[in-house]
Amino acid sequence: MTYEELEKTAAGKADLINVRRIVRDQAEKLAANTGYRKQVLVCGGTGCTSSHSRQVIEQLEKSFEELGIDDVLIVKTGCFGLCALGPIMIVYPEGAFYSQMTPEHAKTVAEKHLIKGGEIVKELLYADTVHADGLVIPFAEIPFYKHQMRIALRNCGVIAAESIEEAIAAGDYAALAKVLKEMTPDEVIAEIKAAGLRGRGGAGFPTGLKWQFTKQAEGDKKYVCCNADEGDPGAFMDRSVLEGDPHTVLEAMTIAGYCVGADEGYIYVRAEYPIAVERLNIAISQARKVGLLGKNILGSGFDFDIHVRLGAGAFVCGEETALMASIEGHRGEPRPRPPFSAQCGVFGKPTVLNNVETWASVAPIILKGSAWFASIGTEKSKGTKVFAVGGKIKNVGLVEVPMGTTLKTIIYDIGGGIPGGKQFKAAQTGGPSGGCIPAKYIDIGMDFDNLTSIGSMMGSGGLIVMDEDTCMVDIAKFYLEFTADESCGKCTPCRVGTKRMLEILTRITEGKGEPEDIEKIKEIAEHMKSSSLCALGQSAPNPIISTMTHFASEYEAHIYDKKCPAGVCKSLLSYYIEPRKCRGCTMCARTCPANAITGVVKSVHEIDPAKCIKCGQCLENCKFGAVVKK
């Protein structure tokens, strides 16, 4: 099939996509044109697949056969964003949002809702989409989605992730066609620059400028690379884009190839993302088949092809020179810059490297114009940003909001707040390279410069929410363990500095901290920031510095009082049974793995601190709240 033929059939399916995008009353009218009475979209992203969405689809297919339903389309999409509620299933044109589906639930929905004349099964809907008076609220209007603005994620959860036809029907490749037919490379670069798009991978470097440098670099061979080595443990927006809309990445890379004069590209993706890898490979072969990749793309005379390279578990490979070393088949050790990759990148050739989310923002800029994009966001941070919101928050998931949206909106309006009525303590952004935002900054607008100004950073957009039960010293130690483990070992400050700092922090959490430890940590941290070779080492101390700045008293409690205020650091804890509350039920003694609890039935039990291993089993199992942690 040629692209032109595919474009035609895809155009015929535009309404199929519109049904999923347009509000209910119009969608219902549109649905009549599509040939399908209803469409069932089931999330096939990693989150929902992990909670068995595949089995939900299988059950739907089975039920359809049994019930003779042949006019309902099942679509396996990418991520809807609300991962905590997976598997998620949305039925159009109603926009009915079913959550936490099981095969049994799917059967029920098929029988009661999807069947001709069926009705929405309210009790299986996500509770927030059912109004107190029983009316069903379209999911786009619930708080989680209402405050969002989806640019990079525009097609995720909307199109069938493995269908190039649906991708094209949803608008993918229109920007490429426009670029190849109507625009010169300089015009495209000017447009990206005017849009103010900055790299979403962490550093926030202006994308258009990057392309311009690569275009200006001399070289007979150039490359375009995609950084899909999403290393921040807790960020998964890149994965979602690759799983939900892989074609937009291929399209944007091809556009960049046209701009800088490259004919080959690499996507460097984590091996831990098998679904993303599979969909990328499917997308690439589909694009090749219809001439969207390969020789003479869309008859323009421009050649471009893309290869997928798998990472192998190294955080440092998110750093551009390390990533390129890895593509070249070496250890992922960064090298000093200059030369910058625009001059000397993969295999020593000029290379433009952007992160997945950045690539996903390119096509809308081309189609809707730089002015539109630049109108969103803040003065120096344009457009939207995807955050992977996790940790102690109700709506764990992916959230795309205009730059400058406050942390409060993200946590409370979109995220649904902290579960269990706990107090918000801090949010960590930027992963192991970032820092924490304490509660007092909850009204901060989230953009590149604001976050940097308070000692955190945007990073790739991981946002981990922590409550009163989180020990900030322990969190600092957690991140440092991560960076110490992920340090490539090339330069002295990072190789040795992470280890020495970790030793000191470990000592502190074990109650062996000494007053001078704070100064020593600060000294090593400063040294790593000023003297490490790459961004990993330079930013590795950030979580420690920021927790020390904002939560100094917690460090002091660990060092001077030998106490962990949040009750996390095991060595500093003791478990104790309140005699007044103990009913002598013997539950604690029976579950104690260390036989540290003595007492007979109906008498007060006691914990022997010498034997106690501080596992917390007694606390968890006591029905009377008699066990306390101090």
């Binding site: 609300l82 807790g234 955080f315 890895s326 070496h330």
Partner: protein, 162 residues
């Protein structure tokens, strides 16, 4: 040092050979070949790395340097069932360290080790992207989410039988 005895089949050797052939002359072939070799053998023993070094014309020390750099590559055989506990931030904040402890306790070996009967091996990983289900563990390909330490024995029980 105890050496694991390498036992490779002729089919595996042939698969490795054709993998190397298909990448010969390709720039940066080492990583893809190591990935495929690990898929074929389950791990990267010295014998396999030597064949790769010779086949791609890369010094063995470099092959070994790359294989030991990336945590995804293993130089030791894995258990029949691979148990992996996510220690990414989202999971850690929700107590995945306690899940790992429970797994270690249940199987009687530490993270990074293989049970003596080679049935299970335990490892930790950094985020599989299923943060919505935190804390998670993965057995083979199957993801188990929203776990508590108490769930661990039941999950592992499913794999004990075979």
């Amino acid at each position: 040092m105890t050496q694991d005895i390498f036992e490779g089949t002729e089919e595996q050797a042939a698969a490795l050979k054709s993998c190397i052939e298909s990448h010969r002359g390709e720039e940066g072939a080492l990583m893809p070949v190591l990935h495929e070799a690990q898929n074929i053998y389950g791990y990267l023993p010295a014998e396999v790395q030597t064949v790769i070094a010779e086949g791609l014309g890369v010094p063995l020390a470099e092959v070994y340097g790359v294989a030991t750099f990336y945590s995804h590559f293993s130089l030791k055989p894995k258990g029949k069932h691979k148990v992996s506990v996510c220690l990414g931030t989202a999971c850690y904040v929700k107590g995945s360290d306690k899940i790992l402890e429970a797994v270690e306790k249940e199987l009687g070996v530490s993270c990074g080790e293989c049970t003596p009967d080679r049935k299970f091996s335990i490892e930790s990983c950094r985020c599989v992207g299923a943060c919505g289900l935190a804390p998670v563990m993965i057995v083979d390909e199957e993801v188990y989410g929203k776990l508590t330490p108490k769930d661990v024995p039941d999950v592992l029980d499913k794999y004990m039988g075979d």
